[in-house]
């Protein structure tokens, strides 16, 4: 198993340590320079890619993913923008914010928000920032109410701030009467207000938020609380905190690792070397990421944090072995060559397996995860390369006298295994695994049983807002607003007809209906109706056009010309035909048809019955509200009128407002597409998925008119899609890399049995980790999914080292019983040190304000510690039980 000669690369490193050091230093500097220069001076180095940050959760899916393409198309179609939401709450006043002082501030803040525009660098001459015309605030929305018998009143909801309590309450009561505003602008309990500030581009959210905070801070203290949130704000904040994270938590983790290494190996100078390797690999991988034009995303920002533990893993094995070997040789050259002979092969294989684990992420359909996997793979490769070259080189560059007192002291006369508490403990464990092998294996089986149960309990769910700590202002705002309002998470349901309106054989149908109109025209004594209608009928009969809209268009333009030159005695007849043709055209305007709108009403009622749905808004709500106010104002009139004409006339009335364009957020001007805006009180993917499923059920049980086809969009829905793809993709990636790693193990040990054995601790570790996640109810979210790959790559390392060394030692000692002591000396110590250093080194991540980093911290620690324990208990117990079969071939 062990090689007699060292690899050429290692010999070269030992012989030319300076060359290796220079090569590493220069290559790293080059990568950093190529990344930093274009970021600092983009104009000078315009051929290179500058640093680009991406905090947009949409980018979890490729830009051409169908759900994103549709989402963007719909945002354009309905002129929907990303919004900053300002929640205003007053817990002290009995009427909440509906008092003159609070509304005065709301008014001022609204006026101030209107001014938050800046010259748009991408569209010279245009302004970017808050879209004033689409702002929702008491002073920017219209009110419609009864103004006495036969009178309807149109006005701004709050033209100016109220001066009395009664006026303030009147504003509240009026808004609560308007379904579009209730639970959106004014909370259902009538205590809170929310302002919605749409943005031309979401990157303005940071400036808008800062400006608003500045304005609020300029007021004397009051009981009004202002909560600023909304997805673009969350994204920007996330971006900022991501950098704080990289700048503080990652170096902090590094410091802890460094201190632990120092504690274990005592030689300050020597433990600097793994830190250098870790730094070099993290910087090189990030440099390569930037140079290749990839963005720093929530996923890729974690690359350094993943590379660091892996980069020090191999170095710890080398130092640990060197620590034990050096005292025997008292010659750094001899000692390092012996160490490298021990470790070259296991290190190569642990590297290959780790790389395979991460590279398997390229199989997921999530671009940021692919990038993450590939660049960590690159980092792992670099870590291996610089560890086997630079660490020996570094040792060679140290003066021999500095190493004089280095190493694991073996006091004369004392048992080698009992010098330190750790040695004593490990040796004891080793002996127990031999004595109680069956007990260990039975416990393992019990653990697997628990793991399987736990995995069956796993709850797949994610919510980007929950990536923030529960104390974070964004989370607090989210909580407060969702308590008061119908929900701040928007899901959009687009409806469009699934069929076109009778394109075939249109001419006979049109002629039939024309004849009906002709009869009516004659009954109404329209002059010359017969002549005119007959002319048109002949025209249609002779037309070659068989396509509905083309036929209508050509006939209409003919009639229009005739109408323009018509004499007084034929004008009315031509006008009647013209109106008939236009009515025909309008049959396609399905969202004016009461049938379609009433279906929407039912659909919305159903959605509102779902627990997580706060409310929904649609063109049907507009029609019902205007209809009610045009008629008596009584609730009995809060309904869709009976004819399409009545709907159309209601909508024209609605558009006689300050904001006629509001309608086009709900329906397209051709009335062929409409959107139901659903407000959810939870942004959890599982809640959104449940709503989507419930809707599908509803639609199949209640077939819609016009074969209306529902399709979701909006970020809350996009999150569900990428999560589905992520879960399926990660399962595939994990299964794929599991098989690859097992094949590599079989190849490494030239034995199926040994290969399978190596997979046991890993399988138990991963199973237990996910089992615990299932049992404690932690959601299986993005970081948890990604960590399965990490656990695979890391957990196998200990098994490889353990088994490789076990074979070397059994060969020397002749049997497993006698090999226990040497196995639980240096090899076990290396594994233990590794697990402790890296595991504890990641605990500083728990202090991070972003939850994904906390998850990663806990996970890496648990994986390493558990994998260490599993390797040191299960493997020796299994070897004990299966010794004959495992070593039969060798004897």
């Amino acid at each position: 198993m062990s090689q007699d000669k060292n690899n050429v690369l290692i010999q070269y490193s030992v012989n030319h340590p300076k060359v290796i050091s220079w090569a590493m230093g220069l290559s790293t500097l080059l990568l950093i320079a190529l990344a930093v220069l274009p970021s600092l001076w983009p104009a000078t180095f315009n051929a290179l890619n500058p640093l680009a940050v991406d905090t947009d959760p949409e980018n979890m899916l490729a830009e051409d993913a169908p759900v994103r393409v549709f989402h963007n198309e719909m945002k354009r179609t309905f002129s929907l923008s990303d919004m900053v939401v300002v929640g205003v709450v007053n817990e002290a006043h009995p009427n909440g914010v509906f008092n003159p002082e609070s509304l005065q501030r709301v008014y001022e803040l609204t006026e101030f928000a209107k001014t938050l525009t800046w010259p748009d660098p991408e569209n010279p001459g245009k302004q970017g920032g808050v879209i004033e015309v689409d702002m929702l605030a008491p002073s920017t929305v219209d009110n419609m109410e009864q103004g006495g018998p036969g009178i309807v009143n149109f006005s701004w909801l709050m033209a100016k701030p109220p001066t009395t309590e009664a006026e303030a309450l009147a504003i509240r009561d009026q808004a609560l009467r308007i379904p579009l505003l209730k639970d959106t602008l004014v909370s259902n309990d009538g205590k809170a207000l929310a302002l919605y500030l749409p943005l031309t581009e979401k990157h303005y959210s940071y400036d808008v938020r800062e400006a608003l905070l500045g304005k609020i801070a300029s007021w004397p203290a009051s009981k009004d609380q202002f909560h600023i949130t909304g997805l673009p704000v969350a994204e920007d904040t996330f971006g900022v905190e991501m950098f704080i994270q990289m700048a503080i938590s990652a170096p902090l983790a590094m410091l802890v690792i460094f201190l632990l290494l120092w504690f274990f190996f005592k030689k300050l100078l020597l433990v600097v070397s793994p830190m250098i390797v870790a730094m070099v690999c993290s910087l090189s991988a990030m440099g390569a990421l930037i140079i290749s034009g990839n963005t720093v995303h929530i996923m890729s920002s974690m690359i350094p944090i993943f590379i660091m533990p892996i980069a020090v893993l191999d170095a710890i094995h080398i130092l640990s072995d060197f620590f034990d070997e050096y005292p025997k040789h008292q010659n750094r050259r001899k000692a390092i060559l012996v160490v490298m002979r021990h470790l070259y092969k296991p290190m190569l294989f642990t590297t290959l397996t780790t790389m395979a684990g991460f590279a398997s992420l390229a199989l997921t359909p999530i671009p940021p995860v692919q990038v993450f996997g590939l660049f960590i793979s690159l980092g792992v490769f670099l870590a291996w390369f610089w560890t086997i070259t630079f660490i020996p080189a570094f040792i060679m560059l140290m003066p021999e006298e500095k190493l004089a007192d280095f190493g694991h002291k073996v006091k004369a006369g004392s048992n080698e295994q009992t010098t330190t508490p750790m040695s004593r403990l490990l040796n004891g464990i080793g002996q127990q695994t031999y004595r109680h092998a069956r007990l260990v294996l039975m416990s393992t089986a019990a653990a697997v049983f628990v793991a399987v149960y736990g995995i069956s309990q796993i709850n797949i769910n994610d919510n980007p807002i929950k990536w923030f700590d529960s104390e974070h202002p964004i989370r607090v705002a989210d909580k407060v607003l969702n308590e008061h309002f119908g929900g701040t998470y928007m899901a959009y349901l687009e409806l469009e007809p699934g069929q076109t309106n009778g394109d075939e054989n249109i001419a006979p149908l049109l002629i039939k209906r024309l004849a009906e109109q002709q009869t009516i025209a004659i009954e109404n004594e329209i002059e010359n109706a017969n002549i005119v209608f007959n002319t048109v009928r002949q025209r249609i009969e002779q037309s070659q056009k068989n396509n509905r809209s083309a036929l209508l268009k050509s006939t209409q333009s003919f009639v229009e010309t005739e109408l323009d030159k018509a004499r007084d005695d034929t004008y009315d007849a031509w006008d009647a035909v013209m109106i008939f043709l236009d009515e025909e055209r309008q049959r396609d305007e399905i969202f004016k048809q009461p049938e379609a709108l009433n279906y929407m009403v039912q659909l919305q009622d159903y959605l509102a019955s779902l627990e997580v749905v706060g409310k929904s808004n649609s063109v049907a709500d507009i029609v019902k509200t205007v209809h009610r106010e045009l008629l008596s104002g009584n609730e009995s009139q809060f309904r869709i009128p009976d004819s399409a004409n009545a709907v159309a006339q209601t909508l024209v009335t609605y558009q006689n407002s300050h904001r006629p364009h509001d309608l086009w957020h709900f329906v397209t001007p051709d009335y062929r597409k409409a959107v139901v805006m659903v407000q959810l009180t939870s942004g959890d993917n599982q809640d959104m998925a449940a709503v989507a499923q419930a809707l599908d059920r509803y639609i199949s049980e209640n077939p819609p008119p016009f074969a209306l086809k529902p399709q979701w969009f909006g970020l809350t829905y996009i999150n569900v899609i990428w999560q589905d793809e992520m879960v399926a993709g990660m399962a595939k990636a994990f299964a794929g890399s599991f098989v690859i790693v097992m094949l590599m193990m079989i190849f490494l040990f030239r034995s199926i049995l040994w290969g399978v054995l190596a997979m046991v601790p890993l399988t138990v570790t991963v199973g237990l980790i996910y089992g615990v996640i299932g049992i404690i109810g932690k959601d299986y979210d993005m970081p948890v999914a990604v960590l399965s790959a990490l656990s695979l790559g890391l957990a196998i390392d200990y098994a490889i080292h353990f088994l490789a060394r076990a074979r070397q030692i059994v060969e020397k000692m002749g049997n497993w019983r006698d090999s226990i002591s040497p196995m639980f000396a240096e090899p076990a110590r290396a594994i233990t040190r590794n697990a402790i250093v890296v595991g504890v080194g990641f605990l500083p991540l728990l202090a991070a304000p972003l939850v994904p980093y906390q998850t990663v911290g806990v996970f890496i620690a648990s994986i390493l510690i558990l994998a260490g324990v599993a390797s040191l208990l299960i493997l020796p117990a299994m070897i004990t039980v299966m010794e004959k079969r495992l070593f039969r071939a060798r004897k």
Binding site: R76, T77, S79, K114, T115, T117, Q127, I131, E132, V133, G147, G150, I151, V152, N153, F154, S155, W156, A159, K160, D564, D568, Y571, D572, D575, M578, I579, F580, D582, E583, R585, Q586, E589, K592, H627, L630, L631, P641, S643, A644, N645, A646, V647, A648, Q649, T650, V652, T653, Q655, N656, S657, H658, R659, P660, H661, L663, W664, T668, P669, D670
Partner: protein, 267 residues
């Protein structure tokens, strides 16, 4: 400005005027746009195009009757009470819908709305007139006129062809603009361009006269556009069959005729 428009305007340039006060200029412009003849009638084709190029069109007929009994500027014919009757023809689903407006100089206007499909006549009490005219980019006030005494007028510049006038509202809280600028042609007194500015000094709304004809001796805008620079929406009103001094009867402009449109007068 299109060349043809300049040529038409040059035609009117033959009449030269003595130095006019800013008040006289805005009075003449107001008369040209809103008060020519004792009454008037026009068919309007309105085309609304949004920022995505999606078009909607409406056809309507507007009847107008002035209260002032004289058409001479000296008698104050540039501003008086007025009545409007707006009758919808198309789209078909709003056919027969009608508006009636009584414009008063001393109080809020009276407005009525007739919705045939709901068989409903309703009085509308609107607190301001700067709301959309039937969903277009024009406001009610653009169609019926803004009272001259609501703004202070300032002659910013006199160019070869235009008086450039800045109008600042006396009650800024009642309107959405900070001020507006009118480019009034010196001889025809047609405001060929009107630009609205917000508090930040950004132009956000713009009206243009796109075609001008002389009808019965009156220079008449026969095609006008209004663009909302914030939403990117633009409305073009093309006027056909424009006629002055039709001899419209005061009784037409009553609630009774909302339900039963005076068809012959609307052709």
């Amino acid at each position: 400005m299109p060349i043809f428009l300049l040529l038409i305007l040059l035609f009117f340039s033959s009449i030269t005027s003595a130095a006019l006060s800013v008040e006289e200029i805005v009075q003449r412009a107001n008369k040209t746009i809103y008060y020519q003849g004792q009454d008037g009638r026009a068919q309007v084709k309105m085309t609304i195009t949004d920022s995505q190029g999606r078009e909607r069109s409406r056809r309507l007929t507007i009847l107008r009757l002035d209260e002032s009994k004289s058409d001479a500027i000296e008698d104050g014919a540039y501003e008086s009470g007025q009545k409007f009757y707006v009758y919808f023809q198309r789209p078909a689903d709003v056919n027969k819908m009608a508006f009636l407006v009584w414009k008063h100089l001393d109080k809020e206007d009276d407005r009525w709305l007739y919705l045939p499909a709901l068989d409903l006549v309703k009085r509308i009490a609107a607190t301001d007139k700067r709301t959309s005219f039937v969903g277009s980019d024009f406001f009610y006030e653009d169609v019926s006129g803004r009272r001259l005494n609501e703004d202070t007028h300032e002659l910013l510049e006199t160019t070869k062809n235009y008086y450039i006038i800045k109008n600042t509202p006396k009650n800024p809280a009642s309107v959405e603009f900070d001020y507006y600028k009118m480019y009034i042609h010196k001889t025809s007194f047609i405001p060929v361009q009107v630009e609205y500015f917000d508090k930040k000094g950004t132009k956000y709304r713009e009206a243009k006269a796109l075609a001008i004809d002389t009808i019965q001796g009156f220079p008449t805008v026969t095609k006008a556009s209004m663009e909302n620079l914030r939403t990117g929406s633009k409305t073009i009103m093309a006027y056909r069959k424009v006629e002055y001094n039709v001899g419209l009867d005061d009784t037409l402009f009553t609630e009774r005729f909302l339900r039963k449109a005076p068809k012959k007068k609307l052709r």
